[in-house]
Symmetry: none
Subunit: 239 residues, 2 copies
Amino acid sequence: MALNIRIILIQTWHSGNIGAAARAMKNMGLSDLVLVNPVDFPSDEAYSRAGQATDVLDRARIVPSLVEAIDDCVLVVGTSARDRSIRLPAYTAEQCAEEAVTLQQQAPVAIIFGRERMGLHNDDIQQCHAQLNIDANPDYPVLNLSQAVQLVCYEVFKASQRQLQLPPVKDEYPLNEDLNRFYDHLAQTLDDIGFINTKAPGQALDHLKALYRRARPTAKELRLLRGVLSKAQEAAEKP
Amino acid sequence: MALNIRIILIQTWHSGNIGAAARAMKNMGLSDLVLVNPVDFPSDEAYSRAGQATDVLDRARIVPSLVEAIDDCVLVVGTSARDRSIRLPAYTAEQCAEEAVTLQQQAPVAIIFGRERMGLHNDDIQQCHAQLNIDANPDYPVLNLSQAVQLVCYEVFKASQRQLQLPPVKDEYPLNEDLNRFYDHLAQTLDDIGFINTKAPGQALDHLKALYRRARPTAKELRLLRGVLSKAQEAAEKP
């Protein structure tokens, strides 16, 4: 059973961490690694830290932006030690693993890890459906990157063992690109009804997007929401 | 609450692993590190990998034999990927953590990690009360030493937290009556824009209400949503 769960590393600085992450993934049965703008890869250091997981490095995909790494994903989770002003559902590693193992039956699930010192930027977080906070010592909660990958992959492995006998999910969820189309439609509609100006939207749109990300609409609910938007546009006579 | 749990590393070859293990320990609130015959310690590499856990390295105790590291312990667990001819009680990391957190109230608990390539020898295992097998991919179950330390310390941290209460929520949430007013406003707006007829609303409204219940809007977000509804009503010229 190969799990359809993707590990995404953003702008990794130390290539040794990429190798250690690949090993951590393979130790827990994962193999889909995507690197967004790695600073130094491929490299000998990455391969020397990968142990027997060099195949994971060989197949790692390098992309120039996060959106290209997640477009086909049904769930996108950002790992973060910090609270954010824009609220997202916050998972523990265990909860994230349960959800990921369930949803990966439909389409890839992405779990994102940020830069070594900076973590995820706010514009990364805004592309996530949920955030993952690893339980840790409040006096020193900042884990090494590959250690964080190890813990999350371990929880995924444990969750997959627990769920082996469970029935498959029934709800169908939209892909990330469908969600982005909905957000565009929402922005246009808010402009059409005079609630915001899309040229200078302020924060209202971000807050609404955060709310919908948190609600995680099913595909059916998303069609319903788009129907409401279309009707509001018609009512405003700007369909 | 400092846990009386000791991490013991036997004949570690790569001193970077010692530093990474110290950081993994501190990230999970542990600080008692004992090194049995380390090959290269203290070393710059250990300190550079330790992050802000250099205090754990400073206080690490170096001993010439395992027996000196465990003499005062109430429970001694050896981490091992392999089955042994000498049968010991076998814990998962979770079970080991539960047991360790319980027993450390009496006296130190030792969790032992073996050499990078060889793991624990049989004469090490024979000094243990139990063995710990980390759940992992059967095709490649051999974790990097510091990653194994990280997983075990993480389970210890989780076990120690399980009784603690959740932190209080800081966001202000609407009362149920405010939510009901929002739902009424939503229904009226959907009627005004021609999406539903409130006399015969069908299921669409129920589906939308379920979605918003799930999102659990804050009081601030609810005001935002009601602002959108008012603007849509104005656009439909039925404010």
